[in-house]
Subunit: 282 residues, 2 copies
Amino acid sequence: MKVGIVGLGLIGGSIGLKLKDLYDNMVIYGYDIDDDSISYCLKNKIIDVKFDEEFISELDFLFLAIPVESIKNQLSHYLNKISDKTLIIDLGSTKFQICNSVENNQNRKNYLAAHPIAGTEFSGPNSATKDLFDDKVMILCDTEKTDPNLLLDAKKIIKSLGMSIKTMNSKEHDKHIAYVSHLSHISSFMLGKTVMDKEDDEHAIYNMAGSGFESTVRLAKSSPEMWSSIFVENKKNIIESLDEYISNINNFKKLIEVSDQKTLNDEMRRINGIKKILKGIN
Amino acid sequence: MKVGIVGLGLIGGSIGLKLKDLYDNMVIYGYDIDDDSISYCLKNKIIDVKFDEEFISELDFLFLAIPVESIKNQLSHYLNKISDKTLIIDLGSTKFQICNSVENNQNRKNYLAAHPIAGTEFSGPNSATKDLFDDKVMILCDTEKTDPNLLLDAKKIIKSLGMSIKTMNSKEHDKHIAYVSHLSHISSFMLGKTVMDKEDDEHAIYNMAGSGFESTVRLAKSSPEMWSSIFVENKKNIIESLDEYISNINNFKKLIEVSDQKTLNDEMRRINGIKKILKGIN
């Protein structure tokens, strides 16, 4: 099998590692705008060959693991160059605008919109691990627009990564993911900012911060380039989620202001229900 | 040594477990408003005897590990009943108002204000572990008001729990901790609320939430009673921190609205500096 990976960061690198581990006859063509990442992946056998567009028609799969804005800008270009047997799978965290950008492309059926619910706050190919996708979910969007046979092959390779598959339409995907993922990142970045702005003496943070702060602020270590691109691509849904988040904080603040402990307790007890939901994730 | 523990939750239970493990001649008197917690601690040898006020004058230390509002209400009462050799140590997450409540008590020197930067999102004595305090920080406040000999003894027992000690004044403590701890809890509770309100179908959360959401929302599992009490006791500082947090989110939202990716990137790159600070915590 011949697989191309454009974007050799955490996700792209981890796919390379896992596929090399799974298949003996796997040739991986990898590309990144950062030459060092290509060298690192060649040296560490995450990829076999530097990807060049002249190889594109030979590929079985081409994974795009680059920021969502770049996917939107490059997907048509790649889709116009592939052969009939190749399936392009993008792995961006937003889906609607990307799908929309190739809606009328003659090769639309050779494209599959995917979003792996997997990742860490670390980035770059040196963070890649072959078990990143174990027991994780891959969301596939608008699958009715993908060629059924290519879709079957894609599901096979996704399952071989260790993932289960859920399908939904790209518009719904972007709406839900704004709440469940994108909002977490913004709340975490803003927590980090608020504390750093206040505590110009870092030692005060060292001494007073416990594992609670550490966990809540973890996502503030995430890649700026990846996330600024996501925030702008999914801005409508994200702004809606932020407005609700801010409104909830303002209401909670009012309860604190008037020392309404009973309502604060009732509110938090209801939110404690998240325990049950988190158990479902594990 | 004879030690009393009022409040047999995560913190009180963990102190009992650790002290029983450390000292052969340790008798622990424990009390909780929940009879089941007392039975659990007796059965699991976290405490030796149910605490009764008749024992109070025999104690070397009396730890108060109850919600901060209850500490404020009960501290004077206990302080009026102890003998000269007893030191009362409260373990609440706010310090200024508690210290203020006994400012003019004749036995003020028999009291030490402490805050262990240790805990998990779980509560109750069945969450207690004897290693909860290993390598954690205990903040001591307004130590100049505590009898120097009793303070020395306290430092000894705190270090034996595995903790290092930092000192600061109670007013400063409450200001900093609002940012570094209390704000994390509110941001996490509100994230949980925003997502739960939106996603009435829990399966959407199961399928789409990854480890990022899980980590950011972890503190939303925390005890409502403990935290509503803290929020109200430290309301002035917490409201200040919330106002700054909301203002930061609103500014970030505006950058998303106008798709200003450059400034978003610059902002997030600066906040990434939290990595360095978090390394200091570990």
